[in-house]
Symmetry: C2
């Protein structure tokens, strides 16, 4: 017997409740769309009779078989009883189209609960309610009630789109279909009372008809399951996500720097990167990325050669390849002198055979053909971008066919870019149908290079032995003997936080507590010193002038301590050995509302705060994650010998791993932790200041 | 008598040389396109006869009148003689379509020179050669040889496009026409042997049919004239520029930091900003920006309300409005409680009346109408973005008409965004025809808000009394009495550069030279001190360990000087009073290959070098330019009291103005100057280190 998901996504028979003869009704268009395919269709309407040549049954009991799938095109109020009847008959899956459930508030919530109860204890699964439904062109399985005159149906393809919202992706599917972008499956999740994104990610992860999965989500049903599902799938198939509602998520207590630098969206960005999920920012980017990743092979590198017959197009494209400011990473290939010489032989005398190659507008098909052939052999080329202009009557279907040939058979990956109306769109459709990447924008073509190179980088990481970045398989490696878990909820003073750190092998400066601000008879470490007030409730010591740096001799020390005692009577003080300078970074932990405990790494100091040069990952991380965190930073050159500054990259990675492991132990209790600054020198990373806030402290 | 430009852009009669009966020939399609309009058309072909119902003349002398314009659709070799004949007859303007001139090298260069000579001493002007020609839909003046089946002709509109390249903008015009974007004029510059961008900027600046000007340029014919022309036009009409070939321009001597931070493209960016020119990065952005600025009114602010019937579209759009990472500046309007209350009365019970407003997919025309009416009154709203979905059969032409009504008549500016194929494109065309902004992407709609707000900001600046940012009208205000102009070419030591600065009223630390490294009997300023080697040929003192900081007492001073003497025997030293810390910035001058002497301001120190947080303007600048330079910096909050850091913004602006004025005096001689670091505190900005390189030093 089929599983519920199989009944939904590969049904042999489907029954529609609420079949209607009225144009514009869901029960009218859904049946008509379904009848175009070869899935057996049954219609139910209490009036009975015949519609669209189909006998209409009055009740579910009258059906000659138990269909795999039911589509309920009835008002919300009628849905629970109908679903109950479906479940009673043993139907595998039910799609509830109607809105009017939890999304409208209290009244709808009650109805939604009834829906859930209707399938409790049965094998029947629900998609929706409040969903645009399902579209699988290959099966002509189309339960979308919108007329195809208004929403184009794509031809069969190999991408799956899972969307929490109809409107968030519908326009892109429509314009995509117009450009010939094929679709494997679209599933509208609606209110997700049963079937959710995680189950579908796993399904499409195994589905032989799906090469890449795109998602539009405004929230995660269960972030841990999402992480697990993506972790399992992403090394097999590329995943692209629009996580919408980025900006509104931010509100949270921001007692520490880590908190103020986070904002839920930055954590999300880090976690997606950790999972190898591509991030798109809107429907157009989503569709672009998912089709590029489905069609294109991962690129060994980013060295692009641009081939064109119009100089301007080549220059615009080269600008995108080389310019950093648009955030697209690619580079212009330097052609082998032999390649240039061979090109010069086949091109017109005044063509440009350097990259970007301009064959001139009069170049015919043969010249492109010859150039493409020559470029196949250049070892310095990772990808060929062909910029095309179909405004010349000479460039027609034959030309496109040859491009498709090279796109399919060539050794070098080929990406076409062409802007324009009818003739251009026709060519893009032709290439899309042949499975050759063609994008209607130079920018988007260059972005495709970046995406395919990122995919290759991710796969290389995934395949380096013992270095899976899947967080599912990386338990925290905590030596419980060594682990010191303080009592959550009781505030910690700086030296207590540092004691915890030292037990995990993290470096901190030499330090002693001065109870009541009294100096000891003997000072156990050399000058210079730092004096700070010691208190678990003073988070921002500097702002209270509770820190004195660079105390160089016993006289100044005595004077300082005396002065501090008078300003903070009875207060314990902390005396530390002052660390020589180095590169200042900040490392932190934060409980993210969605992804749970996450680790931050960033550049320290005032400027870094302004530039917000920080990155996040979900705890636990492995050493590749830690290394990638450093690479994420805009100032990453600091860890690579910039201007002769010697900084131990290894020490930072080691620190991040230890903090992650500590976080794993404290997870559930910790709200935020700041190690700020951490001074990094050529041999080590030393935590100079440390603060920790328990969850209880925040919620209290 | 018409000027040459008027003969070109508003001819009453036109003659085509090389009229041909062969489909696909330029002389065939050009005549056919011209015959569709009401301009008198003459054809010339040595064979004579009749073509397209037109008597064909054999020679120019046979024409019954002297036409305003000639289009030469003949091979390159025939062009010079033909142009000579045209000039002889007194024809106002000639378009030479053919390629095969300087762009193909030596042979072509000779031919191009002949073309130039053909009009020398005559009133005849040339557009081209090697040009796509001219398209003015209002006049049905169309000399573009590409067939309209392959390149759509836009309907009449109010934007002018000036392009050095055909292929660089043609695709955007084609897809733009497809979406109904109107065109005032397109002029292909080709090889620009006579008519160039600067003359056309002035022409369209005065042209009543033009509301905004878009340009695609790979180089400037004359950067000073470009600056002058744009300076005159940009306060009257918005200008948008794709400056292509951004990435390749960078190669230059980079002896100083200013040089290494420049790269020609950053200077270009600063100069465009100074002139109020909007920068686009490709053809799509160009067309978007120019149509938005032509149709839309400048926005008083960036507070956008989003109105939609599809939650997902609203969320995606709100994300673009609020997210910083995409570089689009806008903000979500906070609706007045009264607005929300009124919306709640007209909307469905489960609609969302908070911004982004979601009327739900079932909302009908009346509900949108009522919502738009309510939003007109909210004082917190600067612009309304309506996100539309035409996939529902209910949304049709009538709905679009009402939107157009609000777009045209409403008090609040309205921008529509809709993604999709036929039905969506139809609606966008309808809005475009009504002059209502409608963009086929949520991102591009939000970008429109940013552009229109930027335009308003520029106009406010322009109109603040005495503060014209036009560089034409701002002479350098140099007090020649005070000015000390050193002898260019003779290298300057640090103290000599600083002496120049002090004469211009720029602060530097107390300082004396120690000839041969000998300390004076009396030290003229208090500790701490700095000792540096003094030499005009040591540009990077720090790297040679030629600088010792923070010398606190006479003993250390003596020791240091002694040690320096032994390491640099016979060398003069420079002793300065060490400045207390502050915010470090870098200020510089650089001779840009295109725009001449330019001034840089940026955040100083190692991190700033990594983040490249610098900005440029052309010299001279005024105080508004200086202020805008600070605003350009990513770390601009530093000058606005960030974390209680007190920094004199005024001192920085004053320093920039003085450096600009010094640059004006030294222009032509100076290659690069670095003031780095400049320490800024709450009362002043002090130049701690200064280097200057003359042009002669670089070229030598």
């Amino acid at each position: 017997m089929k599983t519920g998901i199989e009944s939904l996504l590969n049904p042999h028979s489907v029954v529609v409740f609420g079949v209607s003869e009225l144009e514009g009704k869901a029960g009218n268009s859904v049946v008509k769309h379904l009848l175009e395919g070869s899935i057996r269709v049954y219609g139910i309407n209490p009036k009975g009779g015949t519609l669209f040549g189909l006998p209409i049954y009055r009740r579910i009991e009258e059906l000659p078989e138990v269909p795999d799938l039911a589509v309920i095109a009835l008002p919300a109020e009628l849905a629970p009883d109908t679903v109950r009847a479906c479940a009673g008959r043993g139907i595998g899956a039910v799609i509830v189209i109607a809105g009017g459930f939890s999304e409208i508030g209290e009244a709808g919530e009650k109805l939604e609960l009834e829906l859930k109860e209707a399938i409790t204890g049965t094998r029947t699964r629900i998609l929706g309610p409040n969903t645009l439904g399902l579209l699988i062109p290959r099966l002509k399985l189309d339960t979308i009630f919108l007329p195809s005159s208004h929403l184009r149906r794509p031809s069969p393809g190999n991408i799956a789109i899972i969307s929490q919202s109809g409107s968030g992706v519908m326009g892109a599917l429509d314009i995509g279909a117009f450009y010939g972008v094929g679709l494997g499956a679209f599933v509208g999740l609606g209110n997700r009372i049963d079937i959710d994104e995680n189950e579908l990610i796993e399904y499409f992860g195994d589905d032989p008809h799906t090469s890449a999965i795109g998602m539009y989500l405004e929230s995660f049903v269960d972030a841990q399951r999402f992480v697990d599902a993506c972790g399992r799938v992403s090394s097999r198939k590329p995943l692209v996500l629009v996580k919408a509602g980025r900006s509104s998520a931010g509100a949270r207590a921001v007692a520490l720097h880590t908190g103020s630098l986070a904002g839920s969206d930055r954590v999300t960005g880090g976690v997606l990167s950790q999972l190898g999920i591509f991030r798109a920012y809107d429907d157009e980017e989503l569709l672009d990325a998912v089709r590029v990743l489905a069609h294109g092979k991962p690129l060994a590198g980013r060295r692009a050669v641009i081939l064109t017959g119009g100089g301007g197009m080549g220059v615009i494209t080269a600008d995108y390849v080389e310019a950093q400011e648009k955030g697209i990473a690619a580079s212009l290939a330097t052609l082998d002198p032999n390649t240039e010489a061979r090109l010069a032989r086949i091109a017109l005398p005044y063509a440009s055979v350097r990259n970007p190659i301009d064959l001139t507008p009069v170049a015919g098909n043969d010249m492109y053909e010859a150039a493409l052939e020559i470029l196949q052999d250049d070892p310095g080329v990772d990808v060929i971008i062909v910029c095309l202009m179909y405004h010349n009557a000479k460039k027609g279907d034959k030309f496109t066919e040859r491009l498709c040939h090279w796109g399919k058979q060539g050794k070098k990956p080929l990406i076409a870019a062409a802007i324009g109306s009818e003739t251009t769109i026709r060519a893009i459709r032709q290439m899309e149908a042949a499975g050759v990447l063609a994008l209607p924008s130079f920018r988007r073509a260059v972005k495709a290079v970046d995406l395919l190179a990122q995919r290759a980088e991710f796969l290389r990481r995934e395949n380096s032995p013992g270095q899976s970045v899947s967080m599912v398989s990386v338990p925290g490696k905590v030596d419980t003997e060594q682990a010191f878990v303080p009592k959550p909820g009781i505030p910690l003073a700086e030296d207590e936080v540092k004691a915890v750190l030292r037990k995990r092998g993290i470096c901190t400066p030499d330090s002693i507590v001065l109870p009541g601000g009294e100096l000891p008879a003997e000072i156990p470490f050399p000058f210079p010193h730092v004096i700070k007030i010691r208190s678990s409730d003073v988070l921002h010591k500097t702002e209270l002038k509770g820190v004195v740096l660079n105390i160089k001799n016993p006289e100044t020390l005595e004077k300082t301590v005396k002065e501090m005692r008078s300003r903070f009577p009875g207060q314990d003080l902390l005396m530390e050995r002052m660390e020589p300078s180095g590169v200042e970074i900040i490392v932190g932990l934060i409980e993210d509302a969605t992804f749970g405990l996450s680790i931050m790494c960033g550049i320290g100091g005032i400027l870094a705060e302004l530039y917000r040069d920080v990155t996040f990952r979900r705890v636990p991380i492995n050493s590749l994650d830690a290394d990638n965190m450093l690479r994420d930073l805009k100032a990453h050159a600091l860890f690579e010998g910039f201007r002769g500054i010697r900084v131990s990259r290894e020490a930072v990675i080691d620190l991040l791993l230890k903090v992650s492991s500590l976080g794993l132990d404290l997870r559930g209790n910790i709200d935020q932790m700041d190690l700020n600054p951490v001074i990094v020198r050529e041999d080590k990373a030393i935590v100079v200041d440390a603060k920790l806030i328990w969850k209880a402290e925040i919620t209290a």
